[in-house]
């Protein structure tokens, strides 16, 4: 069969320029310059506006280290182009949500990059801690099965991707959860997060003794532990699923005594996302 040669995509000069600024020019040293240049494009023109928003939303097209610069750039633009920046942020939330709903290995790189991007957006004060916490809760709960006999297609038992995703988001911004109230909320999340980890780890998929390659990957263990240490150096790390379960029960009793009867290891405040 003849190899199908793809025509190189021809983009309008303006689009090429926007791409150049965001995907090639941008680096740690020249964020301010890029902001300046981007402010000069014609934001009134619907097509340019739309294209710039599109490029600013796609953090996964950048090198990983530069995602932070992109968040800085967007934050710098926010006082001049609040509408565009709002749409960019909406797009980021949508992308993360779509990733949770689709669950395809092809999306993995993209999802990690977008989690990083959202985390950096918190660090640059574009989004609030509530947004981050809601996202974290949805990562460990959306489409997740709490029953070992029920296999969720969105979060299969042998997939540890959501753990990685949550670790990425926590590593990126959780150390900056500094106020008393947000620290507290994060502590609550960490209880649920540890339960999720133990639930994954205790699943029968990872307990086949005859084949060691099926054991829970040690790398994941390290990522998880490093993440918790990074976020809360003095945190009490649960050593078993039972401990994590007991902690959730304890928390529920403390926060929602009236819910004692409904015992479904879910935070009732999950609703927002």
């Amino acid at each position: 069969p003849e190899s199908s040669k793809r025509e190189p995509m021809v983009r309008p000069a303006m689009h090429e320029y926007i791409r150049y600024l965001i995907f090639e020019e941008l680096c740690k040293q020249n964020v301010d310059r890029c902001i300046k240049m981007l402010r000069r494009i014609d934001w009134q023109d619907p097509e340019t506006n739309c294209y710039a928003i599109k490029c600013l939303s796609k953090a996964y097209l950048l090198r990983f280290q530069l995602i932070r610069c992109l968040a800085d750039l967007v934050s710098g633009l926010s006082s001049y182009q609040p509408r565009a920046v709002t749409i960019v942020i909406d797009n980021v939330f949508e992308d993360i949500r779509a990733g949770l709903e689709i669950h395809s290995p092809r999306m993995a790189q993209r999802r990690i990059a977008m989690a990083k991007y959202l985390g950096e957006m918190y660090n640059y004060k574009l989004v609030e801690s509530t947004n981050i916490l809601n996202t974290l809760y949805s990562i460990i709960s959306l489409g997740v099965s709490n029953d070992q006999n029920v296999v969720s297609p969105l979060d299969p038992p042998d997939s540890l991707f959501r753990l990685k995703l949550a670790c990425m988001l926590l590593d990126t911004c959780a150390p900056y959860f500094t106020s008393q109230a947000t620290r507290k909320k994060l502590d609550y999340f960490l209880v649920f997060f540890q339960h999720y980890y133990w639930f994954k780890k205790s699943h029968p998929v990872f307990s086949k003794t005859e084949n060691t390659s099926d054991l829970f990957p040690i790398l994941m263990d390290h990522t998880y532990r490093d993440c918790l240490l990074n976020v809360r150096p003095k945190l009490k790390i649960y050593k078993s699923l039972e401990q994590a379960k007991a902690a959730i029960d304890h928390l529920q009793e403390k926060l929602y005594p009236q819910l004692k009867t409904t015992n479904n290891a879910q935070d009732p405040s999950l609703g927002t996302i």
Partner: protein
């Protein structure tokens, strides 16, 4: 699921997701309209890099004073099935938008170009 956060006289931003990817803004307004009273709204075209899973979205800012209307809109369109021109069905989701608005950045506030 949508959560009704009651904060008096504030804007509630709701999002309509999973609209058919080929739906244009005009078609959207035609099928959903008239939109409930709103402060602003915008329509997002599908992101084709998601391939088959691409869908359109619409964001609507409504005043929380008439929360009744918000709820009414949700009741009407959450789970509403849209059909594209090929006959594929898309079940729309109406939710409280994850991101409501950002605080104004005070650091760079000089808007003289």
């Amino acid at each position: 699921r949508k959560d009704k956060k009651d904060k008096t006289n504030q804007i509630v931003k709701i999002v309509m997701r999973h609209l058919p990817p080929t739906m244009t803004e005009a078609q959207f307004l035609d099928q959903v309209g008239p939109l409930p009273e709103n402060d602003s709204y915008y329509y997002c075209k599908a992101d084709w890099s998601l391939g088959q899973e691409a869908t359109c979205r619409a964001y609507i800012d409504m005043s929380s004073k008439d929360i009744g209307e918000v709820v009414q809109f949700r009741d009407r369109f959450d789970g509403y099935v849209f059909v594209d021109h090929k006959g594929v069905e898309y079940m729309a989701i109406v939710e409280y938008a994850p991101f409501q608005c950002f605080l104004k950045n005070k650091a760079r506030n000089d808007d003289s170009k």
